[in-house]
Symmetry: C2
Subunit: 100 residues, 2 copies
DNA sequence: TCTACATATCGGTAATTATAGATATATTAG
DNA sequence: CTAATATATCTATAATTACCGATATGTAGA
């Protein structure tokens, strides 16, 4: 981890909604309804559910999640028309190691 | 640690200069000259040295450091006319535990 | 006291981020 | 193919943050 990457991650974690999303994704099955087509949360939660729970516009949440994926905080997996997002624990660990 | 506090810390860590300051303060004796009046770095580094090393205006650095102290990332100790700042490892740990 | 120095705060403008609505793209169902 | 649904991207404006210079405050020493 370098300073530039760490700062990008810090930017993602500088907004209450985004921090909240990171928290929700710790326990997807507790915080979101079960998926229609997928029987598991192995790849996380789809954009729509996060959007509905967060209460901000679809475009806002989509760009939040895109940025969070780009800086490595989240892992994106596409299944059909859905995009699933889960925490990238490896990068989160690298980040916390860096700032510690 | 709660979401609000974590977000405030995230805001402090969303700027490259501030992240850099946190890094410098890991090893004060390596990154800063020795103090004139104090013989040790037990309370960290004074505002002037951080200001000079960062290359931004005194007022900007002062407000950075004030915010970083308010959200708990730094500990401020005054000795005479100098303000010394050091990392608050306890809060940093609480923060990394929270986001992990 | 007066002066010098260290730091904090104030007031302003520039730059960035937040956020929405509209629209584009991708995928599936029929 | 067409329609419906999920997500991404574009464009614009509002809100926030960045940053500086000026000024205020606080402290030590002459």
């Amino acid at each position: 981890m370098n300073i530039k990457t760490a700062t990008e991650i810090g930017k993602c974690l500088s907004n209450q909604t985004r921090v909240q999303i990171m928290e929700w994704l710790k326990k997807p099955e507790k915080n979101f309804p079960p998926h229609e087509s997928l029987k598991h949360f192995n790849d996380g939660v789809c954009v729509t559910y996060i959007h509905e729970k967060a209460g901000l516009s679809q475009s806002t949440i989509s760009s939040y999640l895109t940025n969070m994926e780009k800086c490595g905080l989240l892992i994106l997996t596409r299944h059909g028309k859905w995009s699933y997002l889960k925490r990238n624990e490896k990068v989160i660990k690298e980040y916390t190691d860096f700032i510690t």
